[in-house]
Amino acid sequence: MATVDLTSIAKSFGPTKVLGGVDLSIADGEFLTLVGPSGCGKSTLIRIIAGLEAQDSGGVAIGGASVDHLRAHERRVAMVFQSYALYPHMTVGANIGLPLTMSRMTLRQRLPLLRLLSRQRREILRGIEADVGAVAAQLQLEHLLDRRPAQLSGGQRQRVALGRAMVRSPDVFLMDEPLSNLDAKLRVHMRTELAELHKRLGATFIYVTHDQIEAMTMSDRVAMMDAGDVLQLGTPSELYERPASIKVAQFIGSPAINLLPATLAGSGRIELFGRPLSLAVNGTAGASITLGIRAEALSLAQGEPGQGGRAWFSARLRRKENLGSEYILHFDLAGRDAPGVTTRATAATAATVNETAEVALTFDETACHVFDVGGERLEPRNGGAVSSVVPLRA
C-alpha cells in the first residue's frame, strides 16, 4: 500500500511539450482517475509513474520514497495496458505467472536445458502455480489457464491482464484505458468489477481514461487534464457541480453542458439575450461571459414564460433523442449568435413539443455556472441568485 506523489513532472518529446509541470498527490488506497481528451498527456504521465518513460524534470515518489532511480520492475507497480499486452506465445497461466517467474527464478533456472540442472526449480514452480491459481480463482479464469491469449474473448483477455497485474500484489495499479477495447455492455460491467476489485485489494489505483463516464463512476477523485496540465482535481461531484473552467465543464457530463454567451450589466448582474437575470458576479460592466447550464437544469416552461420571475429564453426544437427512460431534446436558438442547447425531458413532456413552434426554455439560476472570457469560473455573489429565488419545481 502506498501513496504516490508527483512533483512538477515535465516532459517534452523533441520540440513538443507534452507535460508542463504536473503536481499530484494520491492517497494510499485511493482510486484516482486521469481523464482528458486524446493526446493530452495522460498516457505519458502514467508511463512516467511506471518507469517506462523518464521525465525531463520533477520527481515521482511512491510510499514517500523517491523512485526516480528505480527501474520499472523495482517500483512495486503493475500496469494494465489498453492493448492488454499479453504474451501471445504463452498460456494464460504463464502470462499471469511471468512476474513471479522473473522475480523468483534466476536466469539459470529459466534457461532452456540449463534449468534442468536446478534442484529448487520444481519447488519454485509449484509455489508460482499456487499463486497463479489463487489469482485465477479470484478472476474466474481457472478453466482457461492452459489457453493462449488468441483463444480468449476480449473480456477474458482483460481479466488475464488484470491477473498478471494482481499476482505480484503491487502497491500501485496503473491502468491505461483498460476498457477501451471492450464492447459497450462489457465495459459497463467491467466498471463495476474494477471498482469492486479496488475495494477488495485496497491498493492505490491510478486509472487513465478519455471517457468521462468511467471517470465519474469509478473514482474517488478525478484529475482532469488538458494539454499537459491538470485543470482540476477533485471528487467526481466537485468536478460536475463546480467545474473550475469551461474546459472541465464541457468535458464532464453527458449530454455536454449548454454554453450561452452573456454579458455583465451594471453591478455585475448577468444579462442573457438582453434580459437581466437575478444572478450576479464580480466583474466590470459590459464584459462578456459564458453561462453554463446543464441539460437537467434547463426545462420547458410550463404556462406563461417568466412566470414567478424565472429566467427564460425562446428556442425551437431541432431533434428528439429517445433514450428509453427519458428524452434528450435538441433546440436551436433561432436568430441568436449561439449554438443550440439540449435538455432532458420525460416522454410526456417531450410529446408536447414539436419543430413547428418556438417554445420557452426556463432554467434554475442557482444551478448555472459562470465563466469569464478566459474560461475561468466566476463565483456568483451571495452564494447564488441575488433575489427572487423560486423553489424548484417537483
Binding site: R47, A50, G51, L52, R71, A72, H73, V77, A78, M79, F81, S83, A85, L86, Y87, P88, H89, L98, P99, M102, S103, L107, R110, L111, R148, P149, A150, R164
Partner: protein
C-alpha cells in the same frame, strides 16, 4: 434481400448452366499458370528423368537406355560422395552463421533510430551486387601476398594464410563469403519480424521484471521471432545448398577437391565432360535434397505458431 441473390435451388436448368460457366471461368483463370508450370517445370523434369535413364552424351545423335545405372554409379562414386559431404559442411557453416549473424545485426540495427536506414543499406549491398564481380574483390582481399587481410595478419604477428589455396581453409573461406552475401537479406527478414513485435510487450515485460536485454530476448524476441527464424533457416539452407558461383569463379573445386560441391560437379559432368545422362541423374539427387528442405519449409510454415 431479393430472390435473385439466393442460390436458386428450384430452377435446375439455370443453376446447372451457371455452374458450368463458373467452372469454365475458373479453369480459364488457372490455365495460364498451369501452362507455365508445365512448360517451365514439369516438361523439363520429364526430359531430365528420361535423360537420367540413358547414357546420352551432349551432341550425340542417339542414346541407350541404361535404366538405373546412372543412379547406382552416382551413389558409388567417391567424388560425388565427397562433393555431397563438402556441400553439407558448407551448409553447416553458412546456416548458423548466416542466420544468427543476421539476427544479431538485425537486433542492433533495429535499436538505431536515425542511422537505421544507413545500416540497412550497408548490410544489404552485398545482396544486390554481382557475386562474380565480388569474388574478384574477395580474391584480392584474401591474396596471400597482396591482400590486406594477410597484411593485417602479419601486422598482428600471425603467419600468412593462403585462405583459398590451403586445403584446410578453402571451404571455410567460401562459407564466410557465403555468409557475407546472405547476411543482408536475412537481416531484412529479421527486421521485418522485429518490427512486427508490439512495443507494448517489451514494456509489459519490463514491468514484469525483464530487467536486461537477455531477459527481454529470451522472454519476448526469440519466441515471437520463431516463425521468422524457421523461414530464414530453411531459405538459407536451400540457398547454401545451391553453392556454385564462388566455387566456379574462385577455386574450381580445388585445392585437392576440398571445395568440390554437388552443383559444381553436376556442371562438370554435364557441361565439361558432356556426360549428360549422368549429370541428369545427379540433378535428381540434388533435387531430392532441395525437396527435403522445401517440405521442411512448407511443414514449418504451415504449422507455424499462430499467436
Amino acid at each position: 434481400m431479393t430472390m435473385t441473390a439466393i442460390p436458386a435451388f428450384g430452377t435446375p436448368p439455370r443453376s446447372r448452366r451457371r455452374l458450368w460457366i463458373e467452372q469454365i471461368t475458373g479453369a480459364s483463370f488457372a490455365l495460364p499458370a498451369l501452362a507455365l508450370l508445365i512448360l517451365t517445370i514439369l516438361l523439363p523434369l520429364a526430359v531430365l528423368l528420361y535423360l537420367s535413364l540413358t547414357n546420352y552424351e551432349f551432341g550425340a545423335i542417339s542414346a541407350d537406355w541404361v535404366g538405373l545405372a546412372n543412379f547406382s554409379k552416382a551413389l558409388a562414386d567417391p567424388i560425388i560422395r565427397r562433393s555431397v559431404i563438402n556441400t553439407l559442411i558448407y551448409v553447416a557453416i553458412v546456416v548458423p552463421g548466416g542466420v544468427f549473424g543476421a539476427l544479431l545485426i538485425a537486433i542492433l540495427v533495429h535499436g538505431r533510430r536515425r542511422t537505421r536506414s544507413l545500416y540497412e543499406v550497408i548490410y544489404f549491398l552485398p545482396v544486390t551486387s554481382t557475386l562474380i564481380a565480388m569474388a574478384t574483390v574477395w580474391q584480392f582481399l584474401l591474396h596471400p601476398a597482396l591482400g590486406p587481410v594477410n597484411a593485417m595478419l602479419k601486422w598482428l604477428g600471425f603467419g600468412e594464410i593462403a585462405f583459398l589455396s590451403e586445403p584446410s581453409t578453402a571451404l571455410a573461406t567460401l562459407a564466410v563469403i557465403g555468409i557475407w552475401q546472405l547476411l543482408g537479406f536475412n537481416m531484412i527478414l529479421f527486421l521485418a519480424g522485429l518490427s512486427a513485435i508490439p512495443r507494448d510487450l517489451y514494456e509489459a515485460s519490463e514491468i514484469d521484471g525483464c530487467s536486461n536485454g537477455i531477459d527481454r530476448f529470451l522472454t519476448i524476441t526469440w519466441p515471437l521471432l520463431g516463425p521468422t527464424t524457421m523461414f530464414v533457416i530453411v531459405t538459407t539452407m536451400i540457398t547454401a545448398f545451391k553453392i556454385f558461383d564462388t566455387v566456379a569463379v574462385m577455386t574450381r573445386g580445388g585445392p585437392m577437391g576440398r571445395t568440390e560441391v554437388l552443383l559444381y560437379n553436376i556442371y562438370l559432368e554435364g557441361f565439361q565432360y558432356f556426360h549428360t545422362g549422368y549429370a541428369a541423374a545427379l540433378s535428381f539427387i540434388f533435387l531430392a535434397f532441395i525437396l527435403v528442405f522445401s517440405v521442411a519449409q512448407t511443414f514449418t510454415l504451415d504449422r507455424k505458431v499462430h499467436y
